[in-house]
């Protein structure tokens, strides 16, 4: 009986140790990386806001933040995985963040209504036309470059549907 208890205890202990190690390897490590990545993104964002407010730099704050994060990634490539972890949900669900602004359409309906036809033509027609022209021009300009296949190093965290 005593032998069984000792065996059980030892087994339980080793299972617990393994679980803790696993948690350290996957859970805790990932969580720490996620926090580091989030801090990097938020830090760059707020540094961008600060730079925007304290200088007369003509660039918008989020763009300054983007450039800062890019510089940070080049300086220490080790944080790439951390940034990838925390930026994946932001990049994947960017569509969600447009919803409040999109609903603002109704606020300016009377202004829009007066020039509805030309505005629709500019917003839908011109956009589609310019999209086509730009893509066509780009495919001609990049024509000789198409055969080169650049190895993709993504893990598909930007969404793949």
């Amino acid at each position: 009986m005593k032998r069984y208890t000792a065996f059980l205890l030892r087994n339980t202990y080793s299972v617990l140790c393994n679980a803790m190690q696993g948690l350290k390897d996957i859970g805790v490590n990932q969580a720490v990386k996620f926090v580091v990545g989030t801090l990097a993104i938020l830090g760059c964002y707020y540094l961008g806001v600060l730079i925007k407010h304290s200088t007369s730099l003509p660039l918008p704050a989020p763009l300054i933040g983007l450039l800062l994060l890019l510089v940070l990634l080049f300086i220490s490539p080790r944080i790439e995985h951390a940034v990838a972890l925390s930026s994946a949900p932001l990049l994947k669900n960017m569509t969600l963040f447009f919803v409040p602004a999109v609903l603002g359409v109704s606020l300016y309906w009377s202004d829009i209504q007066e020039h509805l036809f030309s505005l629709t033509l500019a917003v839908v027609g011109i956009t589609a036309l310019c999209l086509g022209i730009t893509a066509w021009a780009a495919s001609k300009i990049l024509r000789n470059q198409n055969l080169r296949s650049v190895k993709s190093n993504g893990q598909g965290e930007q969404g793949n549907d």
Partner: protein, 234 residues
């Protein structure tokens, strides 16, 4: 963030955030169920459902926007997060070099010029014409740029987002019409002409397309945000 958190941490804030996120999940489900077709873009379903619910519950859109301001705020950090795809595709950017810059310039110049010309010919108000000049760059940049040149920032958001939706929804048809099969060219056009919504669409098309769209979005955004005030205010 504090302002956005406080206004979203109210009862109506939590309610509208929940409604928006649930509608978005529904929109995503429909989008996936339809095999990722452009017309089932999650934004259309989400905005329609939330808009109908706001109308039925007699909620002014300004109240909704305050309640869901946390979502709008996240657009800033999400823009910062775009640094990652650029970093990862740096080799490709260096490889294409001036060709990429010229391609982006084509879209960055013809889009505002054609849109402005159309509004100018149809005698639209001056502020509206100026606002239309910023229509192909990402929302936060467009709002700030239009404010600088005497346009209407709020209207800029509407034009920009509708252009993005139109670009994202019509992209497959347009690329087919113009017979463009190059994924790089499609990405450049989506990012340059349809900004962040085009990029969101490109992200769903694959990381290589998304990287090109992101480069188009960023280069056109920075260039337009700097050059436009210089031209208009000079």
């Amino acid at each position: 963030m504090i302002d956005a958190l406080l206004s979203s941490a109210t009862l109506s804030g939590i309610l509208w955030l929940t409604i928006t996120v649930l509608s978005y999940l529904g929109g995503l489900f429909i989008h996936r169920y339809a095999g990722g077709h452009s017309l089932t873009h999650p934004l259309i379903f989400t905005a329609t459902v939330v808009g109908i619910l706001a109308f039925l519950s007699n909620t002014p859109i300004v109240v909704y926007q305050t309640s869901a301001s946390l979502l709008h705020w996240l657009l800033g950090p999400a823009t910062v997060a775009l640094a990652l795809p650029i970093y990862r595709q740096w080799q490709q950017l260096m490889h294409y070099g001036w060709r990429l810059a010229v391609s982006i310039t084509v879209g960055g110049v013809i889009t505002p010029v054609m849109a402005w010309t159309l509004l100018w010919m149809s005698d639209a108000p001056h502020a509206m014409q100026l606002t239309m000049l910023a229509k192909s760059i990402t929302t936060p940049l467009a709002m700030e740029t239009s404010a600088q040149i005497g346009g209407i920032p709020a209207l800029a958001a509407v034009f920009v987002i509708l252009s993005g939706v139109a670009g994202a929804v019509l992209s497959s048809i347009t690329f087919a019409l113009f017979n463009v099969t190059s994924r790089a060219a499609q990405g450049i056009a989506l990012g340059t002409v349809a900004h962040a919504i085009g990029t969101a669409k490109a992200i769903h098309m694959g990381e290589d397309v998304a990287a090109m769209a992101t480069i188009g979005l960023c280069i056109n955004g920075i260039a337009t945000a700097i050059i436009l005030p210089l031209i208009i205010l000079a």
